[in-house]
C-alpha cells in the first residue's frame, strides 16, 4: 500500500538510515525465531556421541540416520500421530460447524431473547469455575480417558462465535430474504449459503483450531493419561523427553538428546509442510472487529 503511494507521487525514495536500522532489527528477530528450528534439524542428523561434545551448528559433523530410525520404529509415535490427526480433523470440524451454527442463530434478527443469549455467552468470557470443578465435570460425564475428551469440550468457543457473528452480519440480507422467499428454511440457508460464503473466516478460525489441537498435550496429561493408545503426539514427545531412559538401536546406545531432536522434527514436519499453504489465512482484521462489539 505504501509502495503505491510513493509511485503515485512519482518519487523514487532513497533507502535511508531508518530503513537499514529497521530491517536490521527485524532480521535479527527473524533469525532468533528461525535458528532454534534449524539447530534441531542439524542435531537430529548428527551422530549422538559426537553431538554430546557440543558445537554442531551449521551442518551435522558426523551424519547419522540412527536417530530417525529409532523414532520411526517407536510405536507410540505412530499411534500418537494417528490420535493427533484424528482429534485435529474431528475436533476442528465439530468446532466450526457447531460454533458457526450458534453464531448464525445469535446473529439473526428474528432471534427472541437476544439480550439473554448475549449475556449468557459473555459472562463465561470473564468468569469461570476454574480447573478443578471443570475436571470433576469431565470425570462425571465419563469423558476422561476417552477420545471424546479431546473433541467435545473444545467444540464451542464464545470468542470464535463472536468472530463469526461479526462476519455473518456483513453478509447480504437481501440474499437471505430471497432464499427464504424461495422456500429455504433457516437451517437450509445456513448450510447452503452461510457456510460457503463464510469460507475466509472459517479458514482463519479453522487454522486457530488446527494449531490448538495439534499442539495440545495438557488434555492427554490430565484427562486421558491412563491409556497409551490415547496419547497424542505431543504427549508422547513430552513423555519421551522426560523418561530419559537409555535408548538402543541395533544394539548400540544412542544419545537420548539427538533421538529427541529427530522426534521433534517428525512431530513438526506436518506443520512445516502445511505452513506455506496456511499462510494466506494468517492476516486478517476479523479479531479487531469482533472485539469492538
Amino acid at each position: 500500500m505504501k509502495k503505491n503511494r510513493k509511485n503515485a507521487q512519482g518519487i523514487v525514495r532513497k533507502i535511508g538510515a531508518f530503513d537499514v536500522l529497521n530491517i536490521a532489527i527485524l532480521l535479527i528477530f527473524a533469525f532468533v525465531c528461525l535458528f532454534p528450528v534449524y539447530y534441531v534439524l542439524v542435531g537430529s542428523f548428527n551422530e549422538g556421541q559426537n553431538y554430546a561434545l557440543g558445537g554442531t551448528v551449521l551442518f551435522p559433523r558426523v551424519w547419522s540416520f540412527e536417530n530417525y530410525l529409532w523414532v520411526l520404529n517407536y510405536k507410540l509415535i505412530w499411534n500418537g500421530l494417528l490420535v493427533t490427526a484424528a482429534r485435529t480433523v474431528v475436533g476442528t470440524a465439530l468446532h466450526l460447524v457447531f460454533t458457526m451454527t450458534v453464531a448464525y442463530g445469535m446473529s439473526h434478527r428474528l432471534l427472541r431473547g437476544k439480550k439473554f443469549f448475549r449475556g449468557f455467552n459473555l459472562l463465561t468470557m470473564f468468569f469461570g469455575g476454574g480447573l478443578i470443578p471443570y475436571y470433576i465435570l469431565l470425570t462425571e460425564l465419563r469423558l476422561t480417558d476417552t477420545f471424546w475428551v479431546y473433541v467435545i469440550p473444545p467444540m464451542y468457543s464464545v470468542y470464535d462465535m463472536l468472530v463469526f457473528l461479526t462476519f455473518i452480519r456483513g453478509l447480504s440480507q437481501d440474499l437471505h430474504d430471497a432464499a427464504v422467499i424461495d422456500g429455504a428454511g433457516e437451517w437450509q440457508y445456513l448450510f447452503r449459503f452461510v457456510f460457503p460464503l463464510s469460507m475466509p473466516v472459517l479458514a482463519t478460525v479453522g487454522l486457530w483450531s488446527i494449531v490448538g489441537h495439534w499442539n495440545n498435550y495438557f488434555d492427554t496429561m490430565y484427562y486421558a493419561e491412563s491409556y497409551e493408545s490415547l496419547w497424542t503426539l505431543q504427549y508422547v514427545l513430552k513423555h519421551m523427553i522426560e523418561a530419559g531412559e537409555p535408548l538402543y538401536y541395533a544394539g548400540k546406545e544412542l544419545n537420548a538428546q539427538t533421538v529427541e531432536f529427530a522426534a521433534v522434527i517428525v512431530a513438526t514436519l506436518p506443520v512445516l509442510f502445511a505452513y506455506p499453504f496456511l499462510q494466506r489465512y494468517f492476516t486478517n482484521g476479523f479479531m479487531v472487529g469482533s472485539l469492538k462489539e
Binding site: 505504501k2 531508518f18 525465531c33 532454534p36 469461570g128 470443578p133 470433576i136
Partner: protein, 315 residues
C-alpha cells in the same frame, strides 16, 4: 371476559414462527453447551467451601461438611503460597512490560518495510514459532541452553564471558519464561496491530511527508494514534491475566523447584498431589476461585480507569 383474556395472552406471547424457532434452537445449542461446560463448573465452586479433599467425584465431595473459608485461610497464611503468589505477580508484571509492547514494535517496524517481498518473507519467519508446540519449542530452547553442551553456554564460555555454565532453568526462570513467550508469541501477536495499521489512509502519510515529517514523526503522530484503540483493548485483556500463564509452557520449563512454581502450576500440583501427595480438590478449587475473582477485579478496575482517563474501555 374469558375471550378478552385469551386475546391478551396471545398478544403477550406470540407463537414462534418456523424461522424464529429454527434460529432460537441454533442459539440455544450454545446455551446448552455453556450451561454444561461453563455454568456447571461455576456451581462446582461450592466445593471450595466444602471439605472434599481426598474424595473422588463431585457428589461424594458435595456431601461433605461446610467448612466456610477454611481453605482460603489456609493458603493465605501458607508460606509456599506467598512465595508462589509474589513470584507469579512479579513475573507477569515484568512479562507484561516486555511482551505487551514488543508485538506493537514489530508491527510498526513491519509496516515501515518498503519492499513487499521482504515484508512477506519476514512475516512467514516470525510467525513460525507460534505454530510449534510448547513441547517442541521448549525442548529446543532447553537443548540450546543445556549446561553441558548447549550452544549458548559454549559460546559464552568460548568468549570468556563465563567460567561455569549457567543453569537457566534453575537460576533464570523468569528470563526463560519471558524470553520464550517473546519469541513464540511476538510475531503472531503483531498480526492484529499490523491489520490495524494497514487500514490507515495512506494519504495521511503523504500529507505528513509533504509537511516535512520524518519517519519517526510519522510513526508517533499517525501510526500509533491510529492503532491506539487496538492497543487499549489488548492491554485491558492482558491486565486481567496477571495471575495466568500458559500452563503448557510452565510444565515444559519447570524443573521441580518451588522457586519455579507459579500460580497455575501450583494449583494443578495441589489438586492432583499436594503437600502430602494426595489430591486436594477443595483446596485447589478455592485457589481457582481466588484466581478468577482477582482476574475479574483486575479487569473491572483497569476498564474503569481506562474509561475515566482514556475515554474508552472494553465494555
Amino acid at each position: 371476559m374469558e375471550a378478552k383474556n385469551t386475546v391478551k395472552k396471545r398478544k403477550k406471547f406470540k407463537r414462534f414462527s418456523k424461522s424464529e424457532a429454527a434460529v432460537f434452537i441454533m442459539a440455544f445449542l450454545g446455551v446448552v453447551f455453556l450451561a454444561l461446560f461453563a455454568y456447571v463448573p461455576m456451581a462446582g465452586i461450592l466445593l471450595a467451601f466444602k471439605d472434599g479433599d481426598y474424595l473422588y467425584g463431585f457428589w461424594d465431595a458435595m456431601s461433605t461438611d461446610w467448612v466456610g473459608f477454611k481453605h482460603f485461610a489456609r493458603f493465605l497464611t501458607d508460606m509456599d503460597f506467598k512465595a508462589v503468589f509474589f513470584n507469579t505477580v512479579g513475573l507477569n508484571v515484568l512479562s507484561l512490560l516486555v511482551n505487551f509492547p514488543f508485538p506493537i514494535l514489530i508491527a510498526v517496524l513491519l509496516g515501515e518495510v518498503r519492499s513487499r517481498r521482504l515484508k512477506r518473507g519476514l512475516q512467514s519467519v516470525i510467525y513460525l514459532p507460534h505454530f510449534l508446540s510448547w513441547v517442541v519449542f521448549g525442548s529446543i530452547i532447553l537443548a540450546l541452553l543445556n549446561t553441558n553442551n548447549g550452544l549458548i553456554n559454549m559460546i559464552l564460555k568460548e568468549m570468556g564471558l563465563l567460567e561455569r555454565s549457567i543453569n537457566f532453568q534453575r537460576d533464570h526462570f523468569w528470563g526463560l519464561i519471558i524470553f520464550t513467550t517473546l519469541i513464540k508469541g511476538a510475531g503472531w501477536g503483531s498480526i492484529i496491530y499490523l491489520a490495524a495499521i494497514t487500514t490507515i489512509d495512506p494519504q495521511l502519510y503523504e500529507a505528513a511527508e509533504l509537511d516535512g515529517a520524518g519517519r519517526f514523526r510519522q510513526i508517533f503522530c499517525i501510526t500509533l494514534p491510529a492503532i491506539a484503540p487496538t492497543i487499549t483493548t489488548f492491554f485491558l485483556l492482558n491486565i486481567s491475566g496477571l495471575l495466568g500463564d500458559s500452563i503448557e509452557q510452565l510444565l515444559v520449563f519447570q524443573d521441580g523447584t518451588i522457586t519455579n512454581e507459579l500460580f497455575d502450576s501450583y494449583l494443578l500440583h495441589q489438586a492432583f498431589g499436594g503437600f502430602d501427595g494426595s489430591p486436594h480438590y477443595s483446596y485447589a478449587t478455592a485457589l481457582g476461585l481466588f484466581r478468577s475473582v482477582i482476574a475479574v477485579l483486575l479487569l473491572s478496575l483497569s476498564n474503569f480507569f481506562s474509561k475515566t482517563f482514556a475515554g474508552r474501555g472494553l465494555f
